[in-house]
Amino acid sequence: EDQVTQSPEALRLQEGESSSLNCSYTVSGLRGLFWYRQDPGKGPEFLFTLYSAGEEKEKERLKATLTKKESFLHITAPKPEDSATYLCAVQGWTSGSRLTFGEGTQLTVNP
C-alpha cells in the first residue's frame, strides 16, 4: 500500500526566511510524485509533478526535488501570499490513476 508522510505538520516563517517541507513516501514503483497547494476553503491547486530521482522543478519561489525515498519543497524568500497548506501525493504503477496524499504541511508566512 502506498504511503505518504509529510513534515512538519505546521511551519511558521518570517517573510524572507527560506525553508523546506519534507514528503517521505513508500510506493511500489513510483509513477509520479505531485505537489499541490491548498488555500482555506478551496480545492488543491496543482504545482508540480516529479517522475524520477534527481529531478527538480521550479515555479517562482518554489523548488521541488525528488530522491528515491522523499521529496522536498524548498521555499526561497517566502512572502505572506505563500501561506497555504502544501500537499504531497504519489501515484504508483499498481495504483492506476489513484493518488495517495499526505496530510499536508500548513505554512504561515508572517510579514
Binding site: R31, G32, F34, Y36, Q38, G41, K42, G43, P44, E45, F46, T49, Y51, T85, L87, A89, Q91, G96, S97, R98, L99, F101, E103, G104, Q106
Partner: protein, 113 residues
C-alpha cells in the same frame, strides 16, 4: 471560467437524510473522481469514473453511490447520512493519461447534525 465546479458549497443536514452533491468539469477530461477530506486535511479517494465507467471503488459504505450521466458530470448521492459523514468532499478530474495531474473543485462542506 471555472474548470471543475461542484454544488452546493455547504450542506447542513440531519442524520438519516439523503443528499446529493453535483460536479461538472469543462476541461474535456475523461476521468473524474470523488475525494473525501477529513478534519485533519487528509484527502482520501472514494471513487473514480473513466468515460462514465466506474474504475475505482474504494472501501466506502454502500450508502455512497456515484453516478456519471456523461463524462463531464459526476454526482455523489449519500443515503441515510451519519455523523461520521461530516467532511469536505472534493470532485476532481484528469485527462486519465499516465501522470496527468488532478484538477480539483472547491469542495462541498457537509455537516451532519
Amino acid at each position: 471560467d471555472t474548470a471543475v465546479s461542484q454544488t452546493p458549497k455547504y450542506l447542513v443536514t440531519q442524520m438519516g437524510n439523503d443528499k446529493s452533491i453535483k460536479c461538472e468539469q469543462n476541461l474535456g477530461h475523461d476521468t473524474m473522481y470523488w475525494y473525501k477530506q477529513d478534519s485533519k486535511k487528509f484527502l482520501k479517494i472514494m471513487f473514480s469514473y473513466n468515460n462514465k465507467e466506474l474504475i475505482i471503488n474504494e472501501t466506502v459504505p454502500n450508502r455512497f453511490s456515484p453516478k456519471s450521466p456523461d463524462k463531464a458530470h459526476l454526482n455523489l448521492h449519500i443515503n441515510s447520512l451519519e455523523l461520521g459523514d461530516s467532511a469536505v468532499y472534493f470532485c476532481a478530474s484528469s485527462s486519465g493519461t499516465v501522470n496527468s495531474p488532478l484538477h480539483f473543485g472547491n469542495g462541498t462542506r457537509l455537516t451532519v447534525t
